[in-house]
Subunit: 294 residues, 2 copies
DNA sequence: CATACACATTCCCAATTGGAATACCAATAA
DNA sequence: TTATTGGTATTCCAATTGGGAATGTGTATG
């Protein structure tokens, strides 16, 4: 027996004052109504209705219970409705995790635009260069360079960055600036350990196995090591542009078709995805898509 | 599927973080737990848990739903408990209907004593000489002279009043004061229409069919008509004592064994009778019992 | 007194439920 | 990589439950 149904039935009957009328209104047999109320009364341990041969009326306990149930049904229904609306409306809080450079340099504008378009959503960005656990840290969407599939996660590719290769002025002064990418083997390379394999770089679609002097899963760390003159590293240009501008880093292999680094929006796989998540991912994807065309 | 059970299950799981642990704790199979939650999620239309291979965690919707459910389940449980307690404790409001004379002259003291003994009960007395409908007027206990069984009512006899016969001084002056009850046939009689039959009076256990000049279902009305000199009437002594004292009425047939008028406490028949009702009726019955012995 | 009306109960069949076993999936260990 | 483990989902079947129709019971009504 569904207690909820019984309680709704109880409400109806209290309103209509009759089992039969309620049964008709709800298209069920009168016997079923009688049985359900009997079950409810029995499971509660007190009587809800006085029965006379002509009508039913609430007992004093029934009256008080009715009041409480009324509130119960109303509140729970409202909550269920609201939560269900999240599946079709962009409302609620959206928690995003993104690497620091990407967050500050690529995410600010689309987030602003998204919020302006969807004023009922609120966004919280957690800047974190480590790979967060979406479940433990309660994150809706993580932006990642690697499409490493965690348990039950889904990923949507947002963009492909052509990589920019760079080293510090000091390093190039000491080791000479390479003219062609084919000289790569003569240089120390700083690699991203999450690339697989990390020590294989592509130029003009050709594989080059490089001398891996240092590797890390942290882009920031890689950039820092390059600035310190450890060797040649590769990262998306937006991540190091400011260092190039300040002459802390110098770009090399400018005129070669390089390997690209994809960025993904990773999110939990659930049967009913809150619409704010779907909407934000789609918005981001189309934002970067249109940006690429410019 | 009982939504209530499912919600309680949902609470448990949220607390324990595991379907299996919950199943063990509640002595049910893990499959059943899985099915119930699946049913609940499906009927709600949104996902409550993220499932990973090692544990389950609440979705954002799940978290909000949990909070709401927690609060509401708690409230309804408390209400159910409180209402159930009314079956074993003397608490709540007790609505009593009683005829005016009986209320003021016989009920005041036992009610005071009952309240002193049971401070958590509150009593409301509705004074009404007409026969009220316990269902329509929302009365718990009605005090009545007649054991007229209404629909589904129960009755407990509280006491037997020996009747007192009386007439106005004027009436007796005009018609002569009867010496013996055997003269009753010569007098006009005022009868209580709810007695059955109303025109048969008993003296020393003998039947006398009387001349019924007026009858009413209202004791007050009967007393008034007697005062106005219409004839001889019969009522419990406590009802007319004050008129006798003021010489508005004079008692007759003092030394005969007379018919008695029973008084009943009438109450609704319900499966689980709130204890305050049972307690008050029992208290009244034993009060009048002990009074009789004095 | 017969009738009508309303709730309770019974009987029976279809639908649902729950348990046990199994499938499945991901994290961990080897 | 592979095997193992710890967890949820699914499947299958027996048992229970639930609902409808008919019937029973009790009470107003005319």
């Amino acid at each position: 027996m569904d207690k909820f149904e019984c309680i709704k039935l109880f409400n109806q009957i209290a309103r209509l004052g009759s089992f039969t009328a309620t049964a008709n209104e709800l298209n069920m047999s009168q016997g079923a109504v009688s049985k359900k109320i009997a079950w409810l009364e029995n499971s509660l341990g007190f009587t809800l209705f006085h029965r006379t041969s002509r009508k039913v009326s609430l007992t004093s306990a029934g009256k008080q219970y009715l009041k409480q149930c009324h509130e119960l049904i109303e509140k729970i229904t409202i909550t269920e409705q609201r939560l269900k609306n999240e599946l079709s409306q962009v409302v609620g809080e959206l928690k995003i995790s993104a690497p620091s450079a990407f967050a500050t340099q690529r995410l600010a504008i689309p987030i602003r635009d998204f919020i302006n378009l969807n004023p009922k959503v609120s966004i919280n960005v957690s800047v974190n260069d480590k790979q967060v656990n979406l479940y433990n840290d309660d994150i809706d969407i993580a932006i990642r360079a690697s499409n490493l599939k965690d348990s039950g996660l889904k990923a949507k590719k947002l963009l492909d960055h052509e990589l920019c290769y760079f080293a510090s002025p000091d390093y190039l002064k000491q080791n000479g600036t390479p003219i062609s990418h084919k000289e790569i083997a003569h240089y120390h390379c700083i690699t991203y350990s999450l690339s697989n394999p990390s020590n294989v770089w592509y130029f003009n679609k050709e594989k080059y196995t490089v001398r891996e002097i240092f590797s890390s899963d942290s882009p920031e760390m890689i950039v820092n090591m390059a600035i310190l003159g450890l060797g040649i590293a590769a990262m998306p240009k937006w991540m190091v542009q400011k260092h190039i501008d300040k002459n802390e880093l110098i770009e090399v292999f400018e005129n070669v078709e390089k390997h690209s680094l994809p960025m993904y929006a990773v999110y939990k796989n659930e049967d009913y995805l809150p619409f704010r998540i779907r909407a934000f991912i789609d918005f981001l994807a189309s934002y970067f898509e249109s940006e690429k065309l410019k």
